[in-house]
Symmetry: C2
Subunit: 358 residues, 2 copies
């Protein structure tokens, strides 16, 4: 796709929020990237335009049959003024995997990454530079054809919006209480759990609300077939450190292949810390605790980076991990990952992609 | 909810489509019903306004986390000019079940039905009166809060749009070829398959496209845990007539409780035809065929009413049902159901609800 990206300037820029009040996904920048799709002409009309409401027919298929997928990545500003991304090509690739599963036409990954870079350069003043802050990038695609028959839409819209964000869970890593969900499930093999489609998140809310009502911060999801094997934690991947070895559920078709998950695995290998992707039951996790071998547990994701687990509740049994303190490895991974992202640490994997210098 | 429904008149009415070209879900009437929700004030501002595009923030949660549910029912015009609905209270009830599962605030069922009736009276000229035609009613709710954190939205919009429709599969019942899907699954127990949420339909498209590419009209879904038990056909419930008895999969938490499904069961009981809701494997269906006992198979749903199955393909084995002809019972059920809906047949169950006389 060799199209020019059109640009429409806005008259007035928004007032930017205070860094301290950013939170996550509350504020949006001045511009957005938009591209349309129609079966007759393919993806077309790429443009950077003022962030503004969309105009959609009430019969647009997204409201009825839910063809909607997304990605999440971040732009960082380093101390020397470099704007950089973290492994964005992985997000582009996964976006297309989501497209494929949801019968949405594939996008040109290189072109979209190019468009995202252009949008970020346009919005460079929106990248916050406080501790733990970044510019969250949300590419998403949804069906727009006004039609109520059940089939794939013939029209779509792709957008990229930007949101300056603080650290997802505040400014310090803080171990959270997690409930192992036994009734509701997130995904099943043969379904759509391995891709980032909107419906997965809607389906997860009920269990999350139940957990919160019982004083837990998140859910640990088990597999849908046997309600036995560990899958994910909230909307993150999960890791356990057991007797010196790090374990994470093997990608099985219902677990999301997280970019942070992959990066954690790579870092551990680089550090010569044993790491394995396995099928692990919740029973084994609790047994490791009983043996005194469960040293750490943490979630990994783009929003939170690393999120330590302080407590696990399953079957009316509660176990406390590492005395509810941040594990040494969790902290090291968090420091290393954010260090690389912010250009404070060496990047031996060439994970960061420079966008511009300001 | 005792609120007045506001009305905004449009300047010009649309030109109505020819009855012959209606199809399904392609045309929409002049007005729509809209109502908003905000956690601070609940459902508010019910109004009947000109059918027009919606204006939505790109960060509206529906595009990202998919809280979207819907219903489908029809309004019929009888020979004597009565406008009537078919068991609409069941749709209102199921809408709330969908709300509950998707963490969407419940609606006042009586008020929504009242609003739908008022909309239909406003749009009475849109009810077509050709054979097999009706006015399809699509209530739907989706999240609108502009926020990217994963949690239930604090804002929603409920709409009801109307579409004049022809018979879903054309003017005559015609048995279709069905592929038994073995790789992809529609839903799993603990998930959201038992409610009408947008994501279920998005997740089903890939298997549907695969089936069509192989010359099949629809998919027969098996359960996700064992890939063994029959669940649904396409977006309909499924029935088998085996050795004089009618069998349909028991509602198990991953099957949609169809209004037409329930009506078929009630009618069969009324006719003293044996009917059972059971857990039935695809193996048993094929075994019944081998014994020469598989007499009929058909899907049931609001859009198509009754849809006969002419052929089932599973594991490279293909069986032909009733010589690819419409079964006697399928035809009888179709006639009776549409007869009641159109006021041509007695309604011993008081299923129809009169809306107005024109």
């Amino acid at each position: 796709m060799k199209q020019e990206i059109a640009f429409i300037q806005r008259a007035d820029l928004k007032v930017k929020p205070d860094t301290a009040s950013l939170g996550f996904g509350k504020y949006f920048s001045d511009y957005m990237f938009v591209m349309d799709y129609h079966t007759d002409i393919g993806w077309n009309d790429p443009r950077i335009i003022p962030y503004a409401p969309l105009t959609l027919d009430p019969a647009s298929m997204v409201f009825h049959y839910g063809q909607a997928i997304f990605e999440g990545l971040k732009a960082y500003k380093t101390a020397d003024g470099t704007i950089q991304l973290f492994r964005p090509e992985k997000n582009m690739k996964r976006l297309n995997e989501s497209c494929d599963r949801l019968c949405i036409p594939l996008i040109d990954e290189d072109f979209l990454l190019h468009a995202i870079k252009q949008l970020i350069v346009t919005e460079k003043d929106w990248i916050p530079d406080g501790e733990g802050t970044s510019l969250y990038i949300r590419p998403f695609i949804f069906s727009t054809e006004p039609y109520l028959g059940v089939r794939a839409s013939k029209q779509y819209q792709l957008l990229v919006i930007l949101s300056p964000v603080g650290a997802y869970y505040g400014n310090q890593l803080s171990p959270v209480r997690i409930n192992v969900e036994e009734h509701y499930v997130r995904a099943v093999i043969g379904g759509v759990g391995h891709v980032k489609t909107a419906g997965n998140y809607a389906a997860s809310l009920k269990a999350q609300e139940k957990a919160e009502a019982n004083g837990f911060a998140q859910i640990l999801w088990l597999d849908a077939k046997e309600n036995k094997y560990v899958e994910e934690v909230g909307s993150m991947n999960i890791f356990f450190k057991i007797n010196g070895e790090v374990i994470t559920p093997r990608l099985n078709g219902s677990i999301l292949p997280g970019v942070t998950r992959d990066s954690v695995i790579e870092l551990l290998k680089y550090w010569n810390i044993p790491v394995r992707e396995v099928k692990i039951s919740i029973e084994e996790v609790f047994a490791a605790y009983e043996r005194g071998e469960l040293e750490e547990a943490f979630g990994s994701g783009t929003a939170a980076v690393i999120s330590p687990v302080g407590e696990l509740n399953w079957n009316d049994q509660t176990i406390t991990i590492n005395d509810q303190n941040i594990g040494q490895l969790s902290q090291r991974l968090y420091n290393e990952m954010t260090g690389i992202q912010l250009g404070k640490k060496e990047d031996p994997f060439n994970w960061t992609v420079k966008v511009a210098q300001v």
